[in-house]
Amino acid sequence: MAQEQQTEHVGLARVLGPAHVWALGVGIVLVGEYMGWNFAVGKGGAYAALIACWFAGILYSCVAMIDSEVTSTVAAAGGQYTQAKHIVGPLMAFNVGLYLVFAYTMLEAANAITVGFLVDTVATMSGHSGVLDQRPFIILAIMFLAWLNYRGVLATLTFNLVITAIAFSAVIILFLATSGIFTTSPLQHAELMSGPASLPYGWLGILAAMHFGLWYYLGIEGTTQAAEEVRSPARSLPFGTLAGVMTLAIAATLTWYVCSGLMPWEYLGQAGVPLFDAARLSGSTFLMVLLGIGTLFATLASANGCINDASRAWFAMGRDRYLPGWFGAVHPRYRTPYRAIIFLVPIALIFALGAPIDQVITFSILSGLLGYTFMPLNIILFRRKWPLDSIKRGYEHPFHPVPAFVLLALCGTTFFAVFLGYGTQLVAMIAFYIVVSLWFHFWRYRFVNRGAQFTMPWPKPRGY
């Protein structure tokens, strides 16, 4: 109890800079460039995937701008949960907190499944005979990253920075090696994308491609979870988030360009690891190894960032008693939300070992999409209750309310696209959130720290 006598409080450590914020956001998402985005090609052809990529880019630019403005004033763990708590109300905050935890925990499980698949692929390529048991590698990925997160946020996100930078560099190197700048290009866009192959399902195909178009950027909004651990939130969060969206827009476009120039849309639309396949088709062993390492690193970076973000959201909800206060504990030595990290490990393991990957991914996308739908409402209320002259913002997003309405329209379009392919899951998930909302309203809300949860030194909202 010696340390306790010296320090009355223990909190998360403010040790991160803008590069860590970038690594958190891009690290979670970059795996989407290595796999997953290409199912958009299967839905509507290569051009449809490119249009979906850029429409999703607009959607996420709106998300990043809105998030950057609000988070630069709400420097607390929990990200959008904390924003909803201060701006909209407790029921919205509870729901947004759950969207975040489910979106990130499901994505972590999907990444761990992918690690198992990658190890199996390498084993087969190296001549292993018989069936490899993927489970120990899936469990190892989750346990190692949970341990890293448990031990401290600086090491966790520095690790993410290194492996994300390597994975991003691999995409750039693949593009430079195949684009024809240095040698003859193997890309054949004209042959692969002409005639019926240009838009095989017409405009409906573009709409359907939007479902997987999100995959290029899904998770960039997770940068806000670092708000309580960055040294300068007002500067680092907008900088890291906006730089992250730009990085992803570049990586997504280059990925599409290389892959669509090497593979016919019928194959690309079903490929498991399209960037790795593109490297193999280039005929270079160096590129094949590099993109293989890039795929593994991108997957680990994503799972690592997901553990970081899901645990911060769960911790913040525990601290405000939206969940049992036991989860609001901070490790006195490592300064991490250690109980939230531990609690989410078995949940991730259950989904990684027991659920099919497409269901896990769909649950993650839908939870993320519900979170994006909340953001336009959030920024409109924020600007109305606290106009620009009432609170100093670290970043003010331009053209308000245009980004909010664009985001709302794109969310509506994407909900329709998801409904076309996964209508049952969409309805089931909305039913789930309605049931837990009723539980929160009629039971859990009585335990919430109603006064103590509003901590930002803001003036009274206009009109109150």
Binding site: G328, R339, T455
Partner: protein
């Protein structure tokens, strides 16, 4: 038995080690510190804490 079978066993063992570290440290931490102290983090209090520690030197 080839290299990959040994790697499977190594992955099981490493997973167990990481899990053990977490669980042992969790039990040790919870028994060493009071619950009030462990859950003393408050949103927005970090700046105040930093200032306080800075003044104490």
């Amino acid at each position: 038995m080839d290299l990959w079978n040994y790697l499977e066993y190594a992955a099981w063992a490493a997973s167990a080690l990481f899990g053990l570290f977490i669980v042992i440290d969790w039990i040790k931490t919870d028994s060493q510190y009071s619950e009030e102290f462990l859950t003393s983090s408050r949103e927005g209090e970090l700046e105040a804490l930093t200032e306080e520690q800075h003044h104490r030197g």
